[in-house]
Symmetry: C2
Amino acid sequence: MAAVDAGHATRGHQTVSAAGTLYGLGVGPGDPELLTLKALRIIRTAPVIAYPAPEHGDSFARRIVSGYLSPAKHEIPIRIPMVSARFPAEEIYDEAAAKIDEYLMQGDDVAVLCEGDPFFYGSFMYLFGRLAERHTTEVVPGVSSLVACACVAHMPLAARNDVLTVVPAPLDEGALAARLEGVEAAAIIKLARHFAKVRRVLDRLGLCENARYIEHASAANQRILPLNAVQDAEVPYFSMILVHRRGQAWR
Amino acid sequence: MAAVDAGHATRGHQTVSAAGTLYGLGVGPGDPELLTLKALRIIRTAPVIAYPAPEHGDSFARRIVSGYLSPAKHEIPIRIPMVSARFPAEEIYDEAAAKIDEYLMQGDDVAVLCEGDPFFYGSFMYLFGRLAERHTTEVVPGVSSLVACACVAHMPLAARNDVLTVVPAPLDEGALAARLEGVEAAAIIKLARHFAKVRRVLDRLGLCENARYIEHASAANQRILPLNAVQDAEVPYFSMILVHRRGQAWR
């Protein structure tokens, strides 16, 4: 009998399974039909799934794929408090990585579900940083919120030699203005309670008319609005402003 | 009988079909398994597909989905000369839009295949600009080359409050340096014959060590290299450099 055979190895007197594979799976922006064929195949076959979730309540990433899950799966919710003194919440990712590591060591594949794409501002990178050196890891790209917002708003992101700048809204007002001044094309992400500040900056730069606000792109509760129709207090985290200096990129 | 019934309307003495729907379909970066469920459904049902193609030879977008096409489909290749005095090639898009318009007017849905995502520097916007005001149009986002490169290179694009800058390589050396100086995270796209220039700029800015070169991400001929291992003369259009000031975004 060979020492390594069909994924099994003999270690001392004990036969142990080879370790499982860690998958980071982009599950797209919200519409379950925007899942890739590859993500669907892995979700169906992996015995363990992990996903980010709020401290209380449902996981958005899990909800996107819930129609494809069987009750037999092991599930690891990674609960991240919404208000955290530090970011990233080191202990939470340490603990989640340890749980995932256990499954991988006993030979089970683990699929971590990621809203949008795993590596576009996604929290999967904190698990990847803890686990990828120890385990076979595959990161499966997904439809990011960036392109989903552009498509549903009928507003191409950029064309030809446009520079496209993606700016997180939590930056302070001066930094936002510096980053957005003179841009050809920009996406301002992570709006939430920062919306009013961003609108002030765009207004001062004369960019409001060429901007569009999109929330929950591709999901059932999607909304697309001009900036002056948005109520500051209602802006969720999953929202974005797209702006193009020429109004539409193809001009 | 109702005036509008099952998609048909009576106009004068003649019964005409309602016009078809124009779809812009992101087909992902190269791996056919990175197609979305939605794009697959529309490709299977639309009687007409259109796609960009070189002046001579195969279409990359069509090749990605070729396993899902039936011989019964009408096909409209949109042949774009690689060397063009002007860009976009107005007459070529005028002509393609006219052909697509004919099918739509006779009631057929037309799916335009787009490499990656339709609205991330995609040529679909030139058809969209000509047709969307006259026809029902749906743009289906896809996995962009941007996130595909990040995932296959195991290199997250950006984290937390990083600004991410997407820079087309055809910009002149001074403009490239101005756009890349001080960046936290950047993707330099459309490399081809501009690779050596981009590498010079990154070298002067001290960013080469934190950069990675990726070509044909997710396709069978994918390559991932450090910048000093790339042969200038071999760099294709479908390639990208990713760079992060911290080396890895999660740090």
